[in-house]
């Protein structure tokens, strides 16, 4: 890379520190990151000074409503920022910029967090940097794993995309045609009244480990895109039969004749959805002739998905899979600080008038000025 990342460095200072605020869904995250001057490399890595998160958890059977989520963020943001600053041992005035998630996400939670960002910016007289949530995930994943130019599978509650970098954009090669994979899992969890604490997807993962029988479900890959709403409708009706008080028709395993359990459904759903995700990722790999995969987003912390991806790349020459643990793949503030700081180092700051958040903000809209490979 030949990009000059230090054109805007403050004279006499050998590093940058940025604060990042994330609140596009039900997680409120505050992170503080430090970059030393010069290119990031194996010997000059970004330093996580603080990375704190608090999650709004709704009762079983309920999704998180925008107004309650926004209220959660509003009432916790000050405490979290104070804590992050004290963990990092920095003062507001030590910072170079305030980074915030500008989208995509849920409107009300985004708006409640950007107000905190604007306030801090004026309080400490610091520039604001609006960050694309998806780009935050990608850049943090690349930095943590030091993967150079991977095909990125971004899987979360609101997003399902296969992304590859080309010519200063993160380009979307494939994506869901209807609902996101995390949303599909969350909604299924609600049908089975699986608790949302700590996360519905995590609880499904644990139940799936006990599943034995595979129940056939539709498999809907379309090129590098996929569709999941049909699968959800299918398995929801199986679940409804299972809990129907009338007796009715209960699903049994074709071979053993054993009754299908909720654990079997969790197992079958995961196997089907993840097979589709791995397949579209492999299609993108073949298409761009790469062998590196980086998995980011909340669903990326699922060990079965990571394992399946590993089995896929094992059959490709020099293939490797990179993933991060829940600190970095579940929504967090540090990724916003990191991606925002990369933009800031290229002079990308967001004037106060342009800090309005947007629920729709495509990954490929961002000019990735800090890369030119």
């Amino acid at each position: 890379m030949t990009v000059d990342l230090d054109k805007y460095a403050k004279p006499g200072k050998s590093y940058y520190i940025a604060l990042g605020l994330e609140g596009s869904a039900n997680k409120l995250g505050v992170g503080i990151i430090k970059h030393k001057l010069g290119q990031l490399s194996d010997s000059n890595r970004a330093e996580v000074l603080a990375n704190i998160r608090d999650t709004y958890v709704s009762p079983p059977g309920e999704g998180f409503l925008p107004r309650d989520t926004a209220r959660h963020h509003r009432n916790w943001v000050v405490r979290l920022i104070k804590k992050a600053l004290s963990v990092a041992g920095v003062k507001g005035t030590d910072l170079d910029c305030i980074c915030f998630t500008q989208g995509p996400g849920m409107g009300a939670p985004l708006q409640s967090v950007v107000i905190a960002a604007r306030t801090l910016s004026q309080l400490w007289n610091l520039p604001l940097v609006g960050v694309n949530h998806c780009v935050g995930h990608i850049e943090m994943g690349r930095e943590i794993t030091r993967s150079e130019n991977p095909v990125v599978l971004y899987v979360s509650g609101g997003n399902t995309q296969v992304i590859a970098y080309s010519k200063q954009r993160y380009r979307i090669f494939g994506e869901t045609l209807d609902i996101a994979v995390g949303n599909c899992l969350d909604r299924f969890a609600r049908t089975l009244r699986i608790p949302n604490d700590p996360a519905p997807g995590y609880n499904i993962e644990q139940m799936a480990k006990k599943g034995k029988h595979y129940v056939p479900l539709p498999y809907t890959v379309k090129g590098m895109d996929l569709s999941m709403s049909g699968i959800l409708a299918n398995i929801e009706s199986l679940a409804a039969d299972m809990f129907s008080s009338k007796g009715g028709k209960k699903a049994v395993d074709e071979e053993t004749g054993e009754l299908i359990t909720p654990e079997d459904l969790c197992f079958s759903l995961q196997e089907t959805l993840f097979s589709m995700l791995v397949e579209i990722t492999e299609r993108a790999l073949a298409h761009v002739q790469s062998n590196q995969v980086l998995i980011v987003g909340g669903v990326g912390s699922n060990e079965r998905l990571q394992e399946m991806m590993g089995l896929m790349v094992r059959d490709r020459k020099n293939g490797s899979v990179y993933s991060t643990d829940e600190r970095f793949c579940i929504d967090n503030g540090i990724m916003i600080a990191h991606a925002g700081l990369l933009g800031y180092r290229m002079g990308q700051i967001t004037p106060l008038d342009n800090t309005v958040c947007t629920q729709r903000f495509r990954t490929d809209e961002v000019f990735v000025e800090w890369r030119d490979d």
């Binding site: 995509p104 996400g105 073949a286 298409h287 059959d315 020459k317």
Partner: protein
């Protein structure tokens, strides 16, 4: 490609010598001079063997059902393409259970040694010769668009149109890879097929995609307007393009909440 997969293939294709052409996402592609059932010493032609290996990441039940349905689907589609006179490799023989298709070999080797897919050819021109917008490129793109128009006029949907799935041959462009194909007369399905290609062009050939895409559509329109199909063809072209605009918008507007 790992040795394990090649060993698996050798086991299934005993006594057949082959060269490896490529490892796609779901299939390995080999080239051979051996015909699966004729024994003709005079036969100089070469054949392609497409092999869908077992995917260890998938549950065995999912794996079996996908391998079988895609292999069968692909062969039937190729048979119908041949009947409709749409350029694609001809099927020689198949083994559904093991996911193997033998077919006619089409295409040639580019000066950089790669096979002549549209993608490799365009990349070669972009990188090596710097003449991406020549009249020849325009002519080929229009021909490819025409070919896809022909496909859709037969109510056949490719399902995975990318520049890697279009093979250039001395006789003109041809389609390959029909594992995700389907049949439909709906403008919606045809528009999605075009959209998939358009997006693949945008992401694979970013610098020249707008020219390539407009030439492809020009050829696509030509297939609908030059009168070798019914008079309805023109009308259906208008409908498909209208749908294509909707599909594009849908992609950009899709809410990404959460």
């Amino acid at each position: 490609m790992t040795d394990r997969l090649v060993d698996e293939a050798k086991l299934l294709l005993r006594n057949v010598s082959f060269q490896i052409v490529s490892q796609g996402a779901e299939a390995l592609v080999f080239k051979t001079n051996i015909h699966p059932y004729f024994n003709d010493d005079q036969d100089e032609s070469s054949y392609i063997i497409k092999y869908r290996p077992r995917k260890p990441y998938r549950h065995p039940k999912i794996d079996k059902s996908i391998t079988k349905s895609r292999t069968i689907g692909e062969v039937k589609f190729m048979f119908k393409l041949a009947k409709a006179g749409i350029r694609a490799p001809r099927v020689v023989s198949t083994d559904y259970f093991n996911g193997i298709i033998w077919m006619e070999h089409i295409g040639y080797s580019l000066p950089d040694g790669k096979e002549s897919t549209l993608k490799n050819w365009l990349w070669y021109l972009e990188k090596v010769r710097g003449e991406s917008l020549s009249e020849e490129v325009q002519r080929i793109c229009v021909e490819v668009g025409y070919l896809i128009g022909d496909l859709h006029l037969n109510d056949m949907i490719h399902g995975d149109l990318t520049s890697s799935n279009i093979m250039l041959d001395k006789k003109g462009p041809a389609l390959i890879d029909f594992g995700l194909s389907s049949y439909s007369a709906l403008p919606e399905d045809k528009a999605v097929d075009l959209y998939v290609l358009e997006r693949a062009m945008n992401s694979t050939h970013a610098d020249y995609a707008s020219e390539y895409n407009s030439w492809l559509l020009k050829g696509y329109e030509k297939a609908h307007s030059d009168g070798h199909y019914s008079k309805q063809a023109n009308k259906s072209f208008v409908e498909i393009i209208k749908r294509l605009e909707d599909v594009r918008l849908r992609g950009r507007k899709r809410s990404m909440i959460g």
